[in-house]
Amino acid sequence: MAAEVMLMNEIEATAAQMGIDMNIDFSSIQLPPGENCGIISDDDDVYHDDQLEFDSGFGNVIVVDNLPVVPREKFEKLEGVIRKIYSQIGVIKEDGLWMPVDPETKKTLGYCFIEYNTPQEAELAKEKTHGYKLDRAHIFAVNMFDDFDKYMKVPDEWAPPEIKPYTPGENLQKWLADEKARDQFVIRAGTDTEVLWNDARQSKTEPVYKRTFWTESFVQWSPMGTYLATVHRQGAAVWGGANTFNRLMRYAHPQVKLIDFSPGEKFLVTYSSHEPSNPRDANRVVINIFDMRTGKVMRDFKGSADEFAVGGAGGVAGNSWPVFRWGGGKEDKYFAKLGKNMISVYETETFSLIDKKSLKVENVVDFSWSPTDPIIALFVPELGGGNQPARVSLVQMPGKEELRQKNLFSISDCKMYWQSNGDYLAVKADRYTKTKKSTYTGFELFRIKERDIPIEVLELDNKNDKIIAFAWEPKGHRFAVIHGDNPRPDVSFYSMRSTHNLGRVAKLTTLKGKQANALFWSPGGRFIVLAGLKGFNGQLEFFNVDELETMATAEHFMATDVEWDPTGRYVATSVTSVHEMENGFNIWSFNGRLLYRILKDHFFQFLWRPRPPSFLTPEKEEEIARNLKKYSKKYEAEDQDVSMLLSEQDREKRRMLKEEWEKWVSEWRRAQEEEKLERQKLRDGEASDEEEEYEAKEVEVEEVLDVSEEVLSFEE
């Protein structure tokens, strides 16, 4: 420290000699946007603990213990051996291997320090070589250098933990008790993230909370809307609260890329992928499962990306996200991962595999959970050139009994769609035609809740039609399919419960030649938005499936996303920054009336805040639906009041604006009047001013062009 002070003095002295002003006004320095020059923002201080480790610079140092104690002659040989072992894992820094020697005996002390280029490499080395048997007597004990500090600080005496007084938590569900029964949504545009109320009655939004640089990549609601998750370099955080958004918990996970909530909001899964030091290796993947409320890591999974990339397609770097899929409904009882020739199913009581072993399924490529029950549907493709048929089977957890199985022949691909109540499963199977040159599509429909799970095969009227989209009616018995090859495909609706025959699937209707390529059912069922995104420039059709009639058609030019609010009352369509122009979102009523639109440049995300499932019994819900008139009276009166108030406010606002404008204008007139003479002078005394009434005068001008005399002979 003394040396530094000296240095500073020297600099100041030199500066004084040269006449340089050393007093810098720091507030006058403006940093370029997006650059923080290593200065941590207010927000980051919460991660300070993690930051410190990097600051100390020992995060990449490991200590290897239990080495043989060797005399000086053997020193180099031992060093060579150690270097060989550890340079396989990562790049050891130059002079990064240091084996201390006892100055008296000239022997090594039995441990050494190794410094890697990155903390990731160090951690990997620790994991891989801890417990490494050099020989019988020497089993390596490897620790992170930083951990020593931590363990040294543990006091020798046990002190009883301090019992913190109980502070009642906030009501995290307060937003549900909104007086006007509005819904919230979050938007991300530019560097701002904002939570807003959708005040559809007044056709506008009402701000709840806004923060700049709230997240570093994206935000995500938890499945029941209790939390909003933000993602940072150091980990994920969740926010919520009664009236505003406070940070409720942090989950440390450096370089976290993806997050996933369990359906019941009990657990949070975080994922990161790190570049390996050796470019030939696959990326290293770290997955942590946190308990949401305590913030504790319940289990972590580490390994190379290959281990997590079996089956599935898309996602990040070949992995399909989420790697772990949650099952068993909102209880968060099980989660499963697809592996090579197996599905690993874990249960959350112990965070270990059910029966301590994975479910063995040869060549399984895909699986999915029923949304409500602990049932797994899995798909095994065709093998041996068609000798062994493809297969879809339903497996009950935790018993692992196969409930139903269906063999499928000449299959090229297969997709599974669960209905939201877990009542039905649709398997879309692409089959080769006889010539194997092209494929056609059929559906296998499973009725899960019925005895023996009957299966029905559905083929489209024109079975060569390509399937563009498929969607179940939420909580319902109907589904919609977009099919066809031409630029204007058809949309068909089917019901699993036809009027004549309850056990048969029946077509309700086909809409011909629609500009649609995506289906969005209302969460309450009955209504659906047929959307033509991307190539169709944002065509929207609001369709009532009960009445089989189109309620409205509209367009949100270039729309990229469509999302229903959780109550099924409103639809949000947005243009995100994949397009340069038109960024922003529109809010529509369920029947396709545009309520309001908001434009925002660099618009990234629009997410409705989900609602937890209703506590009302189906009987009660039905009763309310029956007596809707009685209940809605109160709200209709309120609506009317609001619209009255609104138009009153509007008039008032307009009157104010007009008045203000009049004031300006009279001010201007006065100034104009004062300058009138001077202006005339500038124009050499020409009187007329621009502001004088412009008048068009019609002037008739007669001009004598020519006069000629002609003598006309007079005839009799």
Binding site: M581, R654, A671, Q672
Partner: protein
């Protein structure tokens, strides 16, 4: 009434100007030849031949005798409106972007682009009553703003010059000394290049349009922001009705991005806003491509627009227009 489609230019339109009486319309385009039209029926009266580059701007004297044009050929020319002959040529080292006669037509303000090692500049020239006595020298040269200055106009009584351009700042200069008097606020002002600027008929306020998808109304004397009109597309041209409290914004994306967008987007409209309430009233479609120029007839009963598509459209308002109520 059906708009009158005026074909006469082969390249995108750049500027439109009515004379004071509102019977003549002058148009500038990238095709080197400013053109004069009858403002009533859109009939072409004649052209002004002599420029050797895109013509960016023009202005006409109060008595409609003289026309001044600024071109990318690095000249500003004075013309006899009636005969179409060149009266004088000012030479600059860089393209001229905007010109305007002062009150009394004895001075003209000219802006030049940054070119080669030259920076952008605002020049004030004295315009002689008799063009044989016209001289080249400038009364005043103002340098300072970074980037192109897209528009410079005279303030009240020729005492100030208002300039705006690529740096998104509106500046008011003393026209005697060249001193900077006022600058628009960075917070409330435009965020991107200001493409156009037009004064109210009485010069008391002016409207600026910018690529930041907004137009703003300012007090000419105090440079106070009065109104903001937001739209969905970059604004290339603005105009104010002299008759009603309406403003018109025209625009569209960059010429380079036109081919990547569907014209059905319908955003190449001239958008009408209520000047006071800042609310959109309606739009006039027609151009295939962005609108580059807009001008209101001084009688407020018609307006014309010029597009990237090389066409001009002359619109006479229907009687309904004058009864619009919000």
């Amino acid at each position: 009434m059906r708009p009158i489609l005026m074909k006469g230019h082969e390249r995108p339109l750049t500027f439109l100007k009515y004379n004071r009486d509102g019977d003549l319309l002058f148009s500038c385009a990238k095709d080197h030849t400013p053109t004069i039209w009858f403002a009533d029926n859109g009939e072409r009266l004649g052209t002004y031949r002599g420029h050797n580059g895109a013509v960016w701007t023009c202005d006409v004297s109060r008595d409609s005798m003289r026309l001044i044009t600024g071109s990318a050929d690095q000249t500003v020319k004075l013309w006899n409106v009636q005969k179409g002959t060149q009266l004088y040529t000012f030479n600059f080292g860089s393209p001229a972007r905007s010109v305007e006669f002062a009150i009394g037509d004895k001075l003209a303000v000219i802006t030049t682009d940054p070119f080669m090692e030259l920076t952008s500049a605002i020049h004030v020239k004295r315009i002689a009553g008799d063009s044989t006595e016209q001289t080249e020298e400038s009364v005043l040269v103002i340098k300072g703003p970074q980037g192109r200055i897209n528009r410079a106009v005279w303030g009240p009584l020729n005492r100030t010059i208002i300039s705006a351009g690529e740096d998104a700042v509106i500046r008011i200069w003393d026209s005697e000394t060249g001193k900077l008097l006022k600058e628009s606020d960075k917070e409330s002002g435009h965020k991107k290049t200001i493409t156009s600027l037009t004064k109210a008929a009485d010069g008391s306020h002016f409207l600026s349009g910018s690529l930041d998808k907004s137009a703003k109304l300012w007090d000419t004397r105090t440079l106070t922001l009065i109104k903001t009109y937001s739209t969905e597309r970059p604004v290339n041209a603005v105009a104010m009705s002299p008759l009603l409290d309406h403003v018109v914004l025209g625009g569209g994306q960059d010429a380079s991005a036109v081919t990547t967008t569907d014209h059905r987007a319908g955003k190449f409209e001239a958008k009408f806003y209520d000047k006071i309430l800042q609310e959109e009233i309606g739009g006039v479609k027609g151009h295939f491509g962005p609108i580059n120029a807009l001008a209101f007839n001084p009688d407020g009963k018609s307006f014309s627009s010029g597009g990237e598509d090389g066409y001009m459209r002359l619109h006479h308002f229907d009687p309904d227009y004058f009864n619009i109520k919000i």
